[in-house]
Amino acid sequence: MFERGVRLLTGENDPYEALRRFFRFEDRVGIKINTIGGKNISTRPDVSLPLALWLGEKNVRPGNVIIWDRTNRELRDAGYRLSEDKSGPRIFGTDTDGAGYGGDLVVRGNVGSLFSTIQEDFVTASISLAILKDHGLAGVTAGMKNYFGAVHNPNKYHDSRCDPYIAEVFDTPSVKGKHRLSILDCLTVQCHKGPSFHPQWAEKYGALVLGADPVATDAVGWRIIEEIRARKGLPSLAEEQREPLYLATAEHMGLGTADPGRIEVIEENV
């Protein structure tokens, strides 16, 4: 699915050439996943591991791919087996000995944070592989908000519907300068009462969304959540006054395209 997705995204038939659009062989690629939701509603190992292995097969040194999140505990709780073995993808959290947060505050607009050394120092190219969820404050949590897990103080960024914080955290050298690809794990989508897991509102959607534009990818994620909500008879996020404001802010900041009319979506059943 990844190979097909990246080929569709780039228009390249050769997967090696398609991947070269995003990564160089010498890159150290970080796959930032989201595991706060535990086993039920986190980025699944059966999505992230095949991605990491495929990258290692096609383009990047296997030991240069790292699957990571904030803490080892959250990774384990979401079903990951930690690994620092350089013969394959490495898996560990920012709280691993030797990692931690950088020493210098990164300031951008309303944001002042220390970044995970994994994102700041180790990786040279970054994939945001988030699970798509409704979010009581932000409206939607997807690829951009996933990078809240790269800073030491995400709790400070949930005022005013996480806006402009989501866009501003993204608009830092450690994130914007390294982000290459957004992938939304939509195999199961939490469409209501997120970000925590509630089985009655967790839809088996069975899709992956890939995008080179982080804002457009999240905007597509929003559309998916609205589709599912409408099908379930739930009010729209706008009706609940919590549509994701950060998308318009991100577009205004030049981070990508939020306007659905200007986003090309290619859908394919696999």
Partner: protein, 373 residues
């Protein structure tokens, strides 16, 4: 040497505890795997359907889904129950002069056992202690210090008071409250150093177990609180009113920041309000700003600005107005409002002379408000 080891050796050799904040983390290391978090149910919150919780401790009233944390970073919804993660988990502990808090009318010349946990419910751009206040508890290395041990340490190190300070004690309310009760059992006093972002009910409960509260009034404009504090002026003013009406001793600090909150009008309006709501005897400290954290583009406050602010406040009828963070300045000392003589002479945090006798000026006999014995 890790802080925990330092504390151990200090206690063992009878040295003054701690080495001050510079001994704290200069960068945030990775303590998460060894995270030393408590799991004590919070006292002020409401349960909602779908495992949601609503914190009732401060005006933010964070409404959280399962597994989420509040703005403070130290209180977490776990399965629909709200927990404090920092109960008994001190990350800073020192025996400080009480003048450092600052309390100038509260047992001058004594030490207060001063402690903090990680976390804060605002995010001041000029925070002095952001390495412990603006982080999550996994990002510091706390030591286990249950409430009874707090009181024991205070007694052991001859501190007549315990101060809950450095970060924002409201966010470790349960720990502070229980420690205060333990301290009282031993005849010790309790001091709180807070930004005043607290709901009325917990504040009323807190006042029952503490003896002095210092509130940072960071400006007298709502826009400043929104932009530079991420807080709420009205909540802080209400807290000042509540403490002023209570039996707890109140002092107020106003950090004067060049161009942001130092206009004559703002200082005058604030002083006028404070006199009307808290009375002329509430000590007011104008403190000097130093550039740090997210506010490094402004210079330190000129001493002349502080002196002007002091003159304004005195002119509005406040009787005890001090200048802080300017060691050696005359306005560090307490002047008798009647005979004008120096009755407590201070240099920095050191008390060089104390002429208060039985709560009265040793020269003219006029009562001096405060807690003196």
């Amino acid at each position: 040497m890790k802080r925990r080891q330092f504390l151990g050796s200090s206690v063992g050799t009878g040295l003054v505890l701690g080495a001050g904040l510079p001994s704290l983390c200069s960068s945030l290391a990775a303590f998460g795997e060894k995270a030393n978090l408590s799991r004590v149910e919070a006292r002020y919150y409401k349960k909602h359907p779908d495992r949601e919780t609503e914190c009732l401790l401060c005006q933010r009233r964070c409404r959280l889904s399962d597994k989420e944390r509040g703005y403070c970073g130290v209180r977490e919804n776990q399965g629909g129950t709200y927990y404090t993660l920092v109960y008994g988990k001190a990350c800073s502990l020192n025996a400080d002069p009480v003048e450092k808090k600052p309390f100038f009318h509260f047992l001058p010349g004594t030490n207060a056992l001063s402690l903090a946990t990680a976390g804060c419910n605002v995010n001041c751009k000029f925070c002095q202690n952001w390495q412990i206040s603006q982080v999550r508890p996994e990002q510091v290395e706390p030591f286990d210090l249950p409430p009874a041990s707090v009181a024991e340490l205070a007694e052991k190190y001859r501190c007549p008071s315990v101060a809950y300070t450095y970060t924002e004690p409201v966010v470790f309310f349960e720990y502070m409250y229980d420690s205060a009760k333990e301290a009282r059992k031993k005849g010790l006093r309790n001091l709180v150093v807070t930004g005043g972002h607290v709901e009325p009910e917990p504040l009323r409960d807190l006042i029952k177990v503490v003896d002095g509260i210092k509130i940072d009034l960071k400006a007298f404009s709502k826009s400043f609180y929104t932009e530079y504090v991420r807080g709420d002026l009205d909540t802080v003013l209400e807290a000042i009113r509540t403490v002023a009406k209570s039996k707890a001793w109140l002092e107020v600090v106003y950090l004067v920041i060049p161009t942001l909150n130092d206009s004559s009008e703002e200082i005058r309006d604030m002083s006028r309000w404070l006199r009307a709501e808290a009375g002329p005897d509430v000590p007011l400290h104008f403190s000097r700003f130093q550039p740090m954290y997210l506010l490094k583009n402004l210079p330190p406050t000129p001493v002349s600005t502080l002196e002007k602010a002091r003159e304004t406040a005195l002119g509005e009828g406040l009787r005890f107005v001090y200048i802080g963070n300017v060691p050696g300045h005359d306005a560090e000392s307490t002047f008798c409002p009647n005979c004008r003589k120096v009755i407590v002479r201070r240099t920095g945090y050191e008390v060089r002379a104390n002429e208060i006798k039985d709560g009265k000026c040793g020269f003219c006999g006029v009562p001096i408000p405060g807690i003196w014995a």
